[in-house]
Symmetry: C2
Subunit: 174 residues, 2 copies
């Protein structure tokens, strides 16, 4: 029996820097370098016209860089909390194995028991959820922490606690 | 907002007939045909000495037959309940895509939003769970239905409702 609080951590946009991947693949495809500052307040599809295609491209998830501070902080959270990584993945079946191996490569202290790959997060129960999508946080019954990403910028500020990066998570949870 | 009760259905040993796969691969490997009746009351590893290896074999999940009655009954459950398929899969990363495509092939009415591939099911919340493993049912907060498989035969009969097949599920849930 694990009496620690259970924390649910998202992958894309929280651990994995998929905006870098969008920018890189958009540039490879069109020769146009989209500046990150021009994506604030826009949905991913608005900001990156080819993003739906790129999400299905082999290597998109496997080669994503890690978001700054994620490894060190997750290691600490993993000691303090019962931690699960829950990632939306079944929409893109090519992402399933890529996400598994990405996590194994960058977060070797996370075990296969701690990984959940799903379509909808409304079946997930826990005490704290860190995610960059309102749709995931809105149906969660515990404490909800919105991880700032360009696509959620400017959205309703009163529904969830907002953090701008992993350093802030240290401050509020550790 | 979906006001239907949420039902969580397991894949291996409930939808997918993995005992047929164990028997087939064991025979291919050793030339010995293990009779299903000799596996009752034994764990999968006790019954099939090479099962851990076969679970990692390409095609093991993709080629599993469907358990009798599963398609028709699941189709009815899918209308009456908010249904999720939740399968332990992250222990065997080769199984992730195979399970996705197996489900798509045999249960095309189940969407990607309804599939969860995980390591541990204790993060899953719902009203009813159908599973063949005690470890999954034991941590579930709702009604628990144990689907009889040789490995769970003879185990504690008082913890969960036991059904011997999909016909019985029609009787108790529909």
């Amino acid at each position: 029996m694990d009496n620690r609080k259970r924390i649910i951590v998202d992958m894309d946009g929280v651990l994995a820097d998929i905006y870098s991947q969008y920018i890189k693949l958009e540039f490879n495809e069109t020769g146009k370098k989209i500046a990150l500052e021009d994506t604030w307040g826009k949905s991913e599809v608005e900001a990156f016209p080819n993003s739906r295609k790129h999400l299905r491209t082999k290597g998109f998830f496997k080669n994503a860089p890690v978001i700054s501070g994620a490894v060190e902080t997750l290691q600490k959270l993993n000691e303090r909390f019962e931690l699960f990584i829950v990632s939306s993945a079944t929409q893109f079946p090519n992402s399933l194995e890529e996400k598994y191996y990405w996590l194994e490569e960058h977060f070797p202290f996370i075990t296969w028991q701690q990984l959940v790959l799903c379509g909808s997060k409304k079946v997930i129960k826990g005490d704290i959820m860190i995610d960059d999508h309102f749709k995931n946080l809105d149906s969660f019954e515990g404490r909800t922490i919105l991880f700032t990403q360009p696509h959620n910028f400017g959205e309703n500020e009163n529904l969830h606690e907002r953090v701008s990066g992993w350093e802030e998570i240290i401050n509020i949870l550790l």
